[in-house]
């Protein structure tokens, strides 16, 4: 059998990841009403052919609930990954180019954000914003930029001294044009990988913070809520309430982690041929 090379694998994983994302989001949209339907004639059913993931104590179909919950988490994750990576790009570049004071302040802020354990920071932000959906979204979006900002800062620091940038500067090209035309194309791969790898992190943290009871209300069936509700019924042996939603969550995260890691390896010339 011919060995499948890294490029094809990456394309494959990406297609799979995007397809999965689209399917879950679409399903969540279609089933958003059905996820709340209760039917007492079918409560506490184990997983079977008719109800793939079983039903809960109100007779809600867990498969549909999981899909809608996951689609919610995915939307929050995409938003958070987008905001965080743009923030990282901006702050990282600013730190590297705008002089010592700005650099010191931004580095300081990065250290500060990293000094508070992530979950605790999310609790604080959620508390500051009054614990709604807003608190979760803002919290997850504003806390995932630190490590990527560090990477970008280092990268820009090196770029600044590169011959072609120095030449451009000598030729009188403006600062913004240098940043856009010469630096950004160079940074783009790093940025893209950062963006993709932030996404699973954001989803995990969103699930964690909602699991703890901050943010989303029980009517919004996010994965974290579903799992925290399932805790009450665990001792009665209703294992399916916790197992399947969690598995789905893990599957989503793994898919994007693997896709992102593959992309990173492809873009890094040191390991591209392995």
């Amino acid at each position: 059998m011919k060995r499948v090379n890294g490029r094809i694998m990456t394309v494959f994983f990406f297609a799979l990841a995007v397809l999965f994302l689209a399917a879950v989001t679409a399903a969540g949209w279609v089933f958003s009403e059905e996820a709340l339907v209760t039917d007492f004639s079918r409560k506490n059913l184990g997983p079977g052919l008719q109800y793939l993931f079983g039903t809960d104590w109100l007779g809600r179909d867990m498969f549909i609930r999981t899909l809608t919950g996951l689609s919610m988490s995915i939307r929050i994750g995409i938003l958070a990954a987008g905001v965080s990576s743009v923030l990282a790009l901006l702050l990282g570049t600013m730190a590297a180019t705008m002089g010592k004071t700005v650099d010191a302040v931004i580095t300081w802020v990065i250290d500060l954000v990293m000094g508070i354990p992530h979950i605790l920071l999310l609790i604080l932000i959620s508390y500051a914003l009054g614990k709604g959906l807003k608190g979760v979204v803002v919290g997850v979006a504003l806390t995932h930029w630190t490590s990527l900002a560090r990477v970008i800062r280092g990268e820009v620091m090196q770029l600044k001294e590169a011959l072609y940038i120095r030449t451009a500067r000598k030729l009188g090209v403006g600062g913004f044009e240098i940043a856009w035309k010469h630096m950004f194309p160079h940074l783009f791969p790093q940025f893209l990988v950062g963006l993709i790898l932030t996404f699973p992190h954001a989803i995990l943290h969103e699930a964690s913070i909602t699991f703890l009871g901050f943010g989303l209300s029980p009517e919004q069936p996010a994965v974290g809520i579903i799992l925290s509700e399932s805790m009450k019924y665990l001792a009665m042996g209703r294992w399916w309430l916790a197992l399947f939603p969690g598995l789905f969550l893990v599957f989503t995260v793994v898919l994007f982690d693997v896709a992102g890691e593959n992309l990173r390896r492809l873009m890094d010339p040191g390991s591209v041929h392995i």
């Binding site: 300081w108 250290d111 500060l112 990293m114 000094g115 508070i116 354990p117 992530h118 979950i119 605790l120 609790i123 604080l124 932000i125 959620s126 508390y127 500051a128 914003l129 009054g130 614990k131 699973p200 995990l204 699930a207 964690s208 699991f211 703890l212 009871g213 901050f214 799992l227 399932s230 805790m231 665990l234 001792a235 042996g237 294992w239 916790a242 197992l243 969690g246 969550l249 893990v250 995260v253 793994v254 982690d257 693997v258 890691e261």
Partner: protein, 330 residues
């Protein structure tokens, strides 16, 4: 030697300053909160039936209406003197609440930190040594999977298997229910700590394993390992004499830097197992608007995180002879 002390001094001052700013940031976040502690804890109905005097008294107790800047400096000043205020939910000094919870959590975190560090390191070395082998693939796959698994879900799964299904371990808390405090044995405590500690250890392993593996692969491909092989050293000797020394340093740094993650994990795990530790207290404080307790826990945890980073920096200087010599010259 003098340079070394200056280095330590600088790092310590930096750490204290950072902690101060962490407390300031946390304080700002808490004071912009629109949550009215009265509404959250007393409830709309009860408030409606109270006289204005009663409400005023409650407002004074929960600190409603004082200017934030003044409050911060009062709080910070007291904190510096060792008075962290009174927890509003537990009705005890925050220092005392944190002290009790911290002991419970430290157990867990210390065990998890050691176990995940040692196991992760060993697994990483084994995987990196035989890159591409079945063992390597298994270890790598396992680490990637665990890195993607939320700690609380893993906790739920372990609960389902060991507490509900097999019934060999207790389902939660740190002591048996309905037993007097004096009747609780060490064995009871250990039995209750097993599941949380195992969960935390398992989740902590992934990071260190993957990192060690990468480093190990790099080292095994290096020139000095090739030369050692040419000299006729066996694989065991190469690992013992060359690889371990070089791979241990970054692993140690990473492990000390991971304290923040272990702490975050403990919040989730303690909540799932109803284990009365610092993490659970943080969640309770956040949900119940117990501002002094939440602030206290934030500062304590930041001290731990920065302390870990500081230790890593110092250890680097002690363990790595290159940095030791370089540091003395600088």
């Amino acid at each position: 030697m003098k340079a070394h002390f200056i280095f330590i001094g600088k790092q310590t001052i930096r750490m204290l300053l950072l902690t101060f700013f962490v407390s300031l940031a946390a304080f700002i976040l808490i004071s912009i909160s629109p949550i009215d502690p009265l509404q959250a804890n007393v409830g709309q109905v009860a408030l409606g039936s109270m006289s204005p005097e009663q409400i005023a008294k409650l407002e004074a107790y929960w600190g409603v209406g004082e200017p934030p800047a003044e409050r911060f400096f009062t709080w910070a000043g007291d904190f510096f003197r060792g008075d962290m205020g009174v927890s509003l939910l537990y009705r005890q000094p925050v220092a005392k609440v944190i002290g009790v919870k911290l002991v419970n959590s430290l157990w867990l975190m210390a065990i998890a930190w050691l176990m995940s560090g040692i196991a992760g390191f060993v697994l990483g070395v084994l995987a990196g040594l035989r890159e591409g082998s079945l063992l390597d693939k298994l270890i790598k796959g396992y680490s990637l999977l665990i890195a993607s698994t939320p700690a609380f879900w893993l906790a739920l799964v372990l609960l389902m298997v060991f507490a509900v299904w097999l019934k060999i371990l207790p389902i939660g808390l740190s002591v048996p229910i309905g037993v007097e405090a004096s009747g609780v044995t060490i064995a009871d405590r250990i039995r209750h700590a097993i599941l949380p500690a195992v969960t935390l250890s398992i989740t902590g392993i992934a990071n260190i394993t993957l990192h060690t593996r990468e480093k190990m692969i790099e080292i095994m491909e290096s020139d000095y390992v090739l030369f050692a092989r040419a000299r006729g050293e066996s694989t065991f000797e190469i690992v013992k004499n060359h690889a371990l020394r070089n791979v241990l340093l970054p692993a140690l740094t990473l492990q000390f830097a991971s304290i923040s993650e272990i702490f975050g994990g403990s919040v989730l795990v303690e909540q799932t197992f109803s284990y009365p530790g610092l993490g659970q207290a943080a969640v309770t404080a956040g949900l119940g608007s117990d501002v002094p307790l939440l602030l206290g826990i934030t500062v304590i945890s930041a001290l731990f995180v920065f302390g870990g980073n500081l230790t890593a920096n110092l250890l680097y200087g002690i363990i790595d002879p290159r940095i030791r010599r370089g540091g003395a010259r600088a």
